[in-house]
């Protein structure tokens, strides 16, 4: 603690307790708590002063009530997230779409698992089953690794990284991810998934783990697919010695299945397989129905136009494709619409009254 203003550990403890009491008083104390509180107050004269300060601060924050005045706005816990400073500033000017930050990430290594790996893989990430419904609208998470490689995790994905001087290893435990690998020939980048390894030096490719098979799609560069060393102690032939951009391979998970199939995909097919990745959608005088269609193609949350004539509304704007909430907020704040959640996966947009 080199903060000149903060006090002794003792007064810090008093502040902590006082803040806690203020929160409890705010939601109204129970009878038992009321007794406890009175005792606490009389135990030390400093307690009363500390309560006064914490209560003052709690009420100061009320000045911000309704700062986001959009009618029917969905409460956004990340309204003031520091990474969205631009957004936080812009929302004050009522232009929330500017939150979209261009994450100029090429289509990268793409791995997808539709089942929680296997019974033998006890992934702690399995705990996240009880996600709140709003998680559906959560953005796709992007992580930059220490070497500069970038991983985008689709909703529900879990990874573990094990970096050493000799290699960069990432295990995909669950879900779907996209890897853009920083080039380093001396330190190969390996993705372990369902008993196989996808090995890259500096490249961009996709892998998908299904119930019965793993799919690999290379967008840029070259990769090698091999069995995990644990499966083949002697180190056998690579499953696929070389895959190049545009190629797509299916590797069966069961050992007695047919050997890997490699095919070349069209640009459109590649695009389809990686549509979950957030990207910047740039609309110029596009109709709302086109925009909604594009959003729906890329998100598990479905936008529905409750008033058909809304579909003809034209606008020019830039959105991050997974920023459904930001888009909905904009529709509410600037285009006189009202959004209504229907179940967990549908948002209906209507004209406000």
């Amino acid at each position: 603690m080199n903060d000149p203003i903060s006090n002794s550990p003792e007064t810090d403890a008093i502040d902590r307790e006082a803040a806690y009491w203020v929160l409890r008083i705010d939601r109204r104390l129970t009878a038992a708590e009321q007794d406890e509180y009175s005792q606490w107050l009389s135990a030390d004269p400093r307690h009363r002063d500390a309560i006064a300060v914490q209560r003052w601060g709690w009420e100061e924050l009320d000045r911000l009530t309704g700062l986001q005045t959009t009618v029917n706005a969905l409460p956004d816990p990340d309204l003031l997230a520091p990474s969205r400073k631009l957004g936080a500033r812009k929302f004050l000017e009522f232009a929330p779409w500017l939150m979209a930050v261009a994450a100029a990430v090429a289509v990268g290594l793409f791995i997808r698992s539709e089942h929680p790996a296997s019974e033998t893989t006890r992934s702690p990430a399995n705990e996240s089953v009880a996600v709140p419904s709003y998680a559906l609208a959560a953005p796709i998470e992007q992580r930059t690794l220490e070497d500069g490689s970038v991983i985008e995790l689709n909703r529900g994905a879990a990874i573990e990284t094990h970096f050493s001087a000799a290699e960069r290893r990432v295990s995909l435990m669950r879900g779907e991810a996209n890897f853009t690998v920083a080039k380093n020939p001396n330190r190969p980048f390996i993705v372990s998934v369902g008993g196989i390894e996808v090995r890259a030096v500096g490249t961009v490719f996709n892998v998908r783990l299904d119930r019965a098979a793993i799919e690999v799609l290379v967008a840029e560069g070259k990769v090698q697919v091999e069995q995990s060393a644990a499966n083949v102690p002697t180190g056998g032939q690579p499953l696929i010695p070389l895959m190049i951009a545009g190629q797509h391979a299916v590797v069966a998970l069961s050992p007695e299945a047919a050997p890997p199939q490699v095919a070349t995909l069209s640009a459109e097919e590649q695009e389809q397989k990686t549509a979950w990745q957030p990207r910047l959608l740039d609309f110029t005088s596009a109709s709302l129905s086109e925009i909604v269609t594009d959003f729906n193609r890329r998100n598990p949350v479905r936008l529905i136009l409750g008033d058909p004539e809304l579909g003809a509304l034209r606008l020019s704007a830039t959105f991050h494709s997974d920023n459904v909430e930001g888009f909905v907020r904009l529709m509410e704040s600037d285009f006189g619409m009202r959004a209504e959640w229907r179940g967990e996966t549908e948002i209906v947009l209507r004209k406000a009254r």
């Binding site: 203003i5 902590r16 914490q54 924050l61 000045r63 005045t69 009618v71």
Partner: protein, 180 residues
């Protein structure tokens, strides 16, 4: 109630009083068990005027409605009622508005920079809780549901958020009674 200071009195008459019919109707519709709406409105006014007397308020109408709603919820809880059925978390901000999407009295936003920066400086969980509680006026219970965490966590993390905000204010030389 009417404030003593003539300038505050005028502000009260212009900015606050016109909301009373809507506030009354809204409270009556949402809290039919509440029989002392008048007291509750008076208490909300006095809190609003107290805040107004010591600095700017981003949105007086939202302040008023959120304050009244939270008082009503606390009051009902005290009487042993559960929250009214069918009430949604952002009820308080869905009050009928004459001009949708346009803030009624958005004062100079730099007036709130110290508050916004204090919230921005918080650890993620604290920041989310303080944002939902203070900007959207959600109750502890609603925040717990919204974030998928326990009410106890909301309380504990919220109090950490509060304390850290105050530390942030202190570093800026801003405290109770200090001029802004």
């Amino acid at each position: 109630m009417p404030p003593q200071d003539p300038e505050h009195a005028r502000w009260f008459v212009d900015e606050v009083l016109p909301h009373e019919p809507k506030l009354r109707a809204w409270l009556g519709a949402r809290f039919p068990h509440l029989n002392d709406i008048d007291d509750l409105i008076q208490e909300s006014y006095s809190r609003l005027m107290r805040a107004h007397g010591s600095g700017p308020i981003a949105n007086p109408k939202a302040f008023l409605f959120v304050t009244a709603r939270n008082l009503a919820l606390n009051h009902l809880r005290h009487l042993g009622y559960e929250r009214p059925a069918g009430m949604v978390e952002n009820d308080c901000l869905t009050v009928p508005d004459d001009a949708p999407g346009v803030p009624e009295a958005l004062t100079r936003k730099e007036d709130f920079q110290h508050l916004i920066q204090a919230i921005q400086s918080l650890p993620d969980r604290c920041r989310q809780i303080v944002t939902l509680r203070k900007i959207y006026g959600l109750s502890q219970k609603e925040v717990a549901a919204r974030l998928g965490i326990s009410e106890h966590t909301v309380e504990a993390q919220g109090s950490i958020g509060l304390r850290k905000c105050i530390e942030f204010f202190r570093r800026q030389g801003y405290g109770p009674g200090s001029p802004r």
